[in-house]
C-alpha cells in the first residue's frame, strides 16, 4: 500500500512538473506578448580591431570610423583600449569618427577596439512607378556631384548611363540594368582604389571600383547615390574591408552590392562603418601602421528579448537581466542552464541505450570544455590524451609505483601533452587546436584517474570499448547542449527545466530493457525458444 500511494504522489508531481511549465509557456506565447519570431536565433559577431604602429618622438594621430547602431544594426559592449593618451569622437558627414592622438610618442603603440554586432537582413521593394529623373541640372546637389573618383559627368559614363537608365524609364528597371552591368564586370581582388571611369574602361574592378561605377552611373542620370564602406562579418582574421553603395529612393537609402549581387537588399553580415567616398583609416605618416580585424561568430538570442517584459513576474527571463547587471556573463548562465538537459541525455544514453561511460556525468563536463575547441578538435585531443596516458602507464607500470604518485605522474604528462598540443596549434595558426590548452585541469585529472582505474579493473579491451562509448556520449551531450534550438528554448523558457525533472522521474521508474541488452540477450530473446540441447 505504501508504494501505491507513493506512486500516486509521484504521478501528481510528474503532472505538475509537466503542467506548470507548459501552461506558463502557453500563457506567455498567447497573452504575454512573446512572439515566436523572438525564438529565432541571430548570428552575432564579436568584432575586434587591432591597430599597431610605432612612434619616433613625434605626435601621432590615428582615425577610423566606428560602427553606428540603426534600425538594422545593433552594436553592443563596445570597448576601447589604447596606448595613446587622447581620444575623441567626432561626427563627420554623418559618420562616427574615432580619433586617437598623443604627443611625443616613441616606441611601439597599439589600439584595441572591440564590439559585438548583430544585424538583420533587409530587402526593399522599389515602387515601379518611380521614374529616372534624368541628368541633373546643377551638379552641386548632394549625392549627385561628380568627383575625381566618381566621374559622373564624364562622356563615357553619361553615354552608358543614358543607355542603361533612360530618362523617364522605370527606376527599378534602370537600377536592374546598372546592377547587371556592374555585376557583369570581371571581378578582381582588391588592388587599391579604382575610380569609376577606370572600372568602366578596364571592364574589371574589385568591390570599390564596381560600387563607384554604380554610383557614377546613378548620379549621371540624376539618381542620388553614395558609397558605403564596412565589413563583411565572418569568423576569421582579415584586413579587407568591403564597399557597396546606397541609392536614395524617396526618403530611404536602399542598399546595393554589385560585387556580390545584392539588389535593393543587404544581408545580415554586412556591417557599415562609413558612408561616402572615405578611407577607413587615416593616420600620421611614417608610423608603420598596421591593423587587423578579428571576427568571431556567436549565435544567440537578441538582447532586446532579454529586456522585454522585465516587470512581468511570470517572465523568468528577467533573471538574466539580474545576472547581467551583476556582471555575470550570459555565456556562463547558458552553460549552467544546459547542464540539466545534458544530464537527461546521459540518463537516456545509459539507462535506455545502455552505453557505459567514464564517470556518470563526466561526458557533460568534457562536452562543456569542448565549447572552446569545437567537437572535432576536442575529441581528437581527448582521444590522443587517452592514448598518451595509456602509453605512459604501460611504461611506468613495471616500476610498481604506488597508486597516487603514479596518478600524479600521469597527470603531469597530460599537462605537458596538452600544453605541447596548444603550442603546436598556436604556432601553426590552428587556433582551435591552441585552445585545447584551455581544457580544464580538473576534468583532465578525473579522466586520467578513471581511465587508469578502468584498465586495472576491466582490462584493456573493455576499457577501449568504454572509451569509444564515452566519446560517443560526449558527442551526444555536445550536440544537444550546443544545439541552438535547445539553447534558445531554454533561455526563453527557463521553466522547461521542470520538464527535464519530470522526464527524469519517468525514466527513473522505467524498467524496460536497454537497447544494447536486446543484442546481448539476442539468443534468448529471438532464438529457437527455450528448449535445451
Amino acid at each position: 500500500m505504501v508504494s501505491a500511494s507513493r506512486g500516486t504522489i509521484l504521478g501528481g508531481v510528474f503532472v505538475l512538473l509537466l503542467g506548470i511549465p507548459l501552461s506558463l509557456i502557453l500563457y506567455k506565447t498567447t497573452r504575454g506578448g512573446y512572439t515566436l519570431d523572438s525564438l529565432v536565433p541571430v548570428h552575432m559577431y564579436d568584432v575586434s580591431l587591432d591597430m599597431t604602429f610605432s612612434g619616433y618622438g613625434d605626435s601621432i594621430r590615428v582615425e577610423t570610423f566606428l560602427p553606428m547602431a540603426d534600425k538594422r544594426v545593433t552594436i553592443e559592449e563596445e570597448r576601447r583600449t589604447s596606448d595613446l593618451p587622447l581620444y575623441a569622437e567626432h561626427r563627420e558627414h554623418g559618420n562616427r569618427l574615432g580619433v586617437w592622438s598623443g604627443p611625443d610618442q616613441r616606441g611601439p603603440r597599439a589600439i584595441h577596439l572591440e564590439y559585438r554586432s548583430y544585424a538583420k537582413a533587409f530587402t526593399y521593394r522599389i515602387d515601379p512607378d518611380i521614374k529616372v529623373p534624368g541628368p541633373p541640372a546643377a551638379d552641386n546637389l548632394p549625392y549627385l556631384d561628380t568627383t575625381t573618383t566618381i566621374q559622373a559627368d564624364d562622356p563615357e559614363i553619361t553615354a552608358l548611363a543614358a543607355r542603361l537608365a533612360p530618362t523617364g524609364s522605370s527606376l527599378v528597371e534602370a537600377l536592374h540594368s546598372i546592377q547587371d552591368y556592374c555585376y557583369g564586370l570581371t571581378g578582381v581582388s582588391f588592388k587599391g582604389t579604382t575610380d569609376a571611369l577606370t572600372a568602366l574602361r578596364l571592364g574589371e574592378a574589385s568591390c570599390n571600383g564596381k560600387s563607384r561605377l554604380f554610383v557614377a552611373l546613378c548620379r549621371s542620370q540624376g539618381i542620388p547615390a553614395r558609397l558605403v564602406g564596412g565589413l563583411i562579418l565572418e569568423t576569421g582574421r582579415k584586413r579587407t574591408s568591403h564597399q557597396w553603395l546606397e541609392v536614395l529612393v524617396g526618403p530611404y537609402w536602399v542598399p546595393f552590392c554589385p560585387t556580390n549581387g545584392y539588389f535593393a537588399s543587404i544581408p545580415s553580415r554586412y556591417l557599415p562603418l562609413y558612408r561616402g567616398d572615405e578611407v577607413l583609416f587615416r593616420h600620421s605618416r611614417d608610423i608603420n601602421f598596421d591593423y587587423a580585424f578579428t571576427i568571431v561568430r556567436r549565435d544567440g538570442i537578441r538582447a532586446e528579448l532579454l529586456q522585454q517584459g522585465l516587470h512581468d513576474p511570470l517572465n523568468l527571463m528577467s533573471i538574466w537581466e539580474t545576472f547581467r547587471s551583476a556582471g555575470i556573463p550570459f555565456e556562463l548562465l547558458k552553460v549552467l542552464l544546459m547542464i540539466p538537459l545534458g544530464t537527461l541525455v546521459l540518463v537516456i544514453l545509459r539507462n535506455v541505450v545502455g552505453l557505459q561511460t567514464f564517470g556518470t556525468f563526466l561526458p557533460i563536463l568534457i562536452a562543456i570544455a569542448f565549447r572552446q575547441t569545437g567537437l572535432y578538435w576536442g575529441l581528437l585531443a581527448f582521444m590522443t590524451l587517452i592514448i598518451l596516458i595509456f602509453l605512459v602507464r604501460q611504461v611506468i607500470q613495471p616500476l610498481g609505483l604506488l597508486h597516487i604518485p603514479q596518478m600524479a605522474i600521469l597527470l603531469s604528462f597530460s599537462v605537458i601533452f596538452i600544453l605541447a598540443l596548444g603550442a603546436i596549434g598556436a604556432r601553426s595558426g590552428f587556433l582551435n587546436l591552441a585552445s585545447v590548452s584551455l581544457f580544464p585541469i580538473a576534468i583532465m585529472a578525473i579522466t586520467t584517474e578513471r581511465f587508469s582505474l578502468m584498465i586495472e579493473e576491466e582490462g584493456i579491451r573493455r576499457t577501449a570499448e568504454i572509451t569509444l562509448m564515452t566519446a560517443l556520449g560526449i558527442a551526444c551531450c555536445y550536440w544537444v547542449m550546443n544545439a541552438m534550438a535547445f539553447q534558445i528554448l531554454f533561455m526563453t523558457f527557463p521553466e522547461l527545466v521542470l520538464v527535464v525533472l519530470a522526464l527524469n522521474i519517468w525514466l527513473g521508474r522505467w524498467i524496460g530493457m536497454r537497447v544494447m541488452e536486446f543484442w546481448r540477450f539476442r539468443h534468448l530473446l529471438f532464438g529457437q525458444g527455450g528448449g535445451r540441447a
Binding site: 501505491a4 604506488l402 586495472e456 524498467i511 534468448l524 530473446l525 535445451r532 540441447a533
Partner: protein, 304 residues
C-alpha cells in the same frame, strides 16, 4: 523465420523472460537489498565472519593487513608460508588477487610463474591498503589459504580456479552457472574478461549450455574439454550452501560465489549484491519468471 518474428513481436510487447539491468536494479536490488547492508557483502572479511558463524565453510584467513605501518611484518607473517592468496577485502571482479603457489630460495612463485620477493609482496599489499582495487577508498589486504581446484566433472584440470555462481532470491536458489577461466581471461573466473559461463540445471547439477563472449560453444576454447552435458560434483552440497548463505545474510537478492577445493569441498568465496545478468545467456533462460513477485506482477508495488 516464423519463430523469430513471433519472438520479436513478443519482445516488442515486453513479453519476454529476460531480466534487464533497469528491471534488476529497481525490482530486485533496490527492493530486496537494503543499502545499509551492502558492506556485509562488499567487505569479504565481514562476509566471512557472518558465514563462519552460520556454519558455512569459507577459506581460512591466515592474516590481515589494515594499515601501512603493518607492512613491516609481511616477512614475519608470510615467511613461513609456501602457498597463500592475497586479496583486497573490497576488491571487485577478482582484481588485485595474487595467488602464491610455492616458495623457493626466499622468493615466492605466483600462479602465473612470476617470482616475488618480500619487497614486491609488500608493495602489492600496500597497493591494496591504499585502495587501488577498491575505487580509491582505503581497504584491507586479506591473506587466505590457497584453494586447490578439485575435479569439477572428471579428470580434467582447467586453468585458474573455476567458480560456481548461485543466484538466490528470498533465500531460494533460482539460477546457477559455472565460470571457467581461460587463457584469455588470465586465469580469472570473470565472464567479461573472457571466462566461459556454463549453465547448470538446478535440479540435477548437469551443465546445459556454455557461453563465451557472446558465442555458444560445447567445448572449452583452450582445450578439447567438453563442457555441456556433464554433472558437477557435490551439487547438492553447493545448493545447500547457497541456501545457508542466503539465510545468513539480510539480503534478498544475491549472487553467491563458491569454489570446489580438493580437500575441503565447496567453500563460499564471496557474495554480490548486484550479480551480473550474463548468467541468463549461460543458461539460455531468462531470470524474470524465476524472480517474479506475485504481488508485483499484479500491477502495484511490493507489499513491504
Amino acid at each position: 523465420m516464423l519463430d523469430f518474428l513471433r519472438n520479436a513481436a513478443l519482445v516488442l510487447k515486453g513479453d519476454h523472460p529476460v531480466l534487464g539491468i533497469n528491471a534488476r536494479n529497481r525490482t530486485l536490488v533496490y527492493r530486496e537489498n537494503s543499502r545499509r547492508h551492502y558492506p556485509l557483502a562488499d567487505d569479504k572479511l565481514r562476509t566471512k565472519e557472518i558465514l563462519k558463524a552460520a556454519g558455512v565453510p569459507v577459506p581460512e584467513t591466515l592474516g590481515t593487513f589494515s594499515w601501512m605501518h603493518e607492512l613491516g611484518r609481511v616477512e614475519s607473517t608470510l615467511g613461513k608460508l609456501t602457498d597463500f592468496v592475497i586479496k583486497p577485502a573490497q576488491g571487485k571482479a577478482g582484481n588485485g588477487i595474487l595467488v602464491i603457489v610455492d616458495r623457493r630460495d626466499g622468493r615466492w612463485l605466483d600462479a602465473g610463474g612470476n617470482t616475488w620477493d618480500t619487497d614486491g609482496i609488500t608493495r602489492h599489499i600496500g597497493d591494496i591498503i591504499f585502495g587501488n582495487y577498491a575505487h580509491g577508498l582505503s581497504d584491507q589486504a586479506l591473506i587466505e589459504e590457497r584453494l586447490v581446484q578439485a575435479s569439477l566433472f572428471g579428470e580434467e584440470r582447467f586453468p585458474g580456479l573455476p567458480d560456481i555462481r548461485v543466484i538466490t532470491h528470498r533465500g531460494r536458489p533460482v539460477m546457477a552457472m559455472l565460470r571457467i577461466p581461460t587463457a584469455a581471461s588470465g586465469g580469472k573466473a570473470n565472464l567479461h574478461q573472457g571466462a566461459v559461463g556454463v549453465g547448470l540445471d538446478l535440479d540435477t547439477g548437469m551443465t546445459t549450455y556454455a557461453c563465451h563472449q557472446g558465442r555458444f560453444l560445447t567445448h572449452h576454447p583452450d582445450g578439447r574439454w567438453r563442457l555441456i552435458g556433464r554433472k558437477l560434483q557435490a551439487w547438492d552440497r553447493i545448493l545447500d550452501m547457497g541456501r545457508l548463505t542466503a539465510a545468513a545474510m539480510p539480503l534478498g537478492y544475491l549472487g553467491i560465489d563458491l569454489a570446489l577445493d580438493s580437500r575441503r569441498g565447496p567453500l563460499v568465496l564471496e557474495v554480490n549484491v548486484r550479480p551480473g545478468l550474463e548468467i541468463q545467456n549461460a543458461n539460455l533462460e531468462g531470470l524474470e519468471p524465476l524472480v517474479a513477485d506475485p504481488v508485483h506482477m499484479g500491477g502495484k508495488g511490493g507489499a513491504e
